[in-house]
């Protein structure tokens, strides 16, 4: 089976002032990668104007583009409109579901969505107490369950989980410990480990580190732009 080259970046946080600046780094992406994954926080405030910049920066590339949204893309309460604008530009936006691409006969399956927080095993919020806390952790639990089902049903040769929030602590190293519960949740990793995947991609932790692994041994890569310090990471499966 042919090797797949996965390009990935998150947290590009585009707005009008950055129009065209990211695009110029993507011209030769077809020479480096078979697909581009965008790990959320594509905009700064989640406005439709900023989403227009994102659509223009990533449309008509020589490789397919698959994205999830991040917390910034939700800030103006227009996530559905933003997703629709990106879809119109040919960018497939995942919302706790799956997509399968055919790359020269190799089926690449990608499952994912924004994800959410809650913290990591033994040091996390639980479904107990005030309704506000239950709503917080309940959001993460429902997302993780949808990913687990999507992974279970996925028929593909290579399997990737694409998230904005982090499924593991490893890739948060460099962030203050106190904010870990807002950076991700182990429930996301648990879903991936339960059904199996070859790689987990996430963003959100701008001060974290690139490389980690889930408790079950799946490689995790934090592709937040400030972490990578390069236009995108390329991972070969």
């Amino acid at each position: 089976m042919r090797e797949l080259r996965i390009a990935a970046v998150g947290d590009v946080h585009l707005d009008e002032s950055l129009r065209g600046r990211y695009r110029e780094r993507l011209d030769d992406i077809g020479e480096h990668a078979d697909v581009l994954l965008l790990a959320g926080d594509l905009t700064r405030h989640g406005t439709l104007e900023e989403a227009g910049v994102v659509a223009d920066e990533f449309r008509d590339l020589p490789v397919p583009v698959i994205a999830v949204l991040g917390n910034h893309d939700h800030h103006s309460n227009h996530p559905a409109e933003i997703a629709a604008m990106l879809n119109d530009a040919g960018i497939k936006v995942l919302h706790d579901d799956a997509t399968v691409l055919d790359v020269d006969g190799v089926r690449l399956g990608v499952v994912g969505g924004k994800g959410f927080g809650g913290g990591y095993a033994g040091k996390c919020a639980s479904d107990f107490g005030e309704p506000e806390i239950k709503a917080f952790i309940g959001h993460t639990k429902r997302i993780a369950e949808r990913w687990r089902v999507a992974l279970k049903e996925l028929e593909a040769d290579r399997r990737i989980v694409l998230s904005h929030y982090s499924p593991v602590k490893d890739t948060l190293s460099g962030e203050p410990l106190e904010i870990y519960p807002f950076l991700g949740s182990y429930l996301l990793a648990e879903a991936a480990d339960a059904e199996g995947a070859d790689l987990v991609i996430h963003g959100h932790a701008h001060a974290g580190t690139e490389k980690g692994v889930t408790p079950g041994g799946i490689r995790v890569r934090n592709v937040a732009l400030p972490v990578l310090g390069r236009a995108y990471g390329v991972y070969c499966l």
Binding site: H45, H206, P226, L228, G229, A231, Y232, C236
Partner: protein
């Protein structure tokens, strides 16, 4: 006098909540009369805006803008997993 921790927390919240910035990833430290900003952004315009918002949230302090602008080039080396 207001404790420096509260000033730093107010600036950090302003950076996150002010719609000119909505910046969550900047470290803010207050030492005496100085306010230090550290982190990474992708453009100089954004770097200057962050300092403006910080200055408004903490008038009277000298803002030391130590935020770096990252200039992202090329994809770098690929990794085989």
């Amino acid at each position: 006098m207001e404790a420096p921790q509260y000033v730093a927390a107010r600036v950090q919240r302003a950076l996150a909540e002010d719609e000119r910035t909505n910046e969550l990833g900047i470290r803010v430290d207050v030492r005496g009369e100085q306010l230090f900003l550290r982190g990474q952004v992708t453009g100089n315009e954004r770097r200057l805006l962050i300092a403006d918002v910080a200055r408004e949230a903490a008038p009277g302090l000298t803002v030391r803008n130590e935020i770096t602008v990252i200039d992202v080039r090329g994809p770098g080396e690929e990794e085989r997993l």
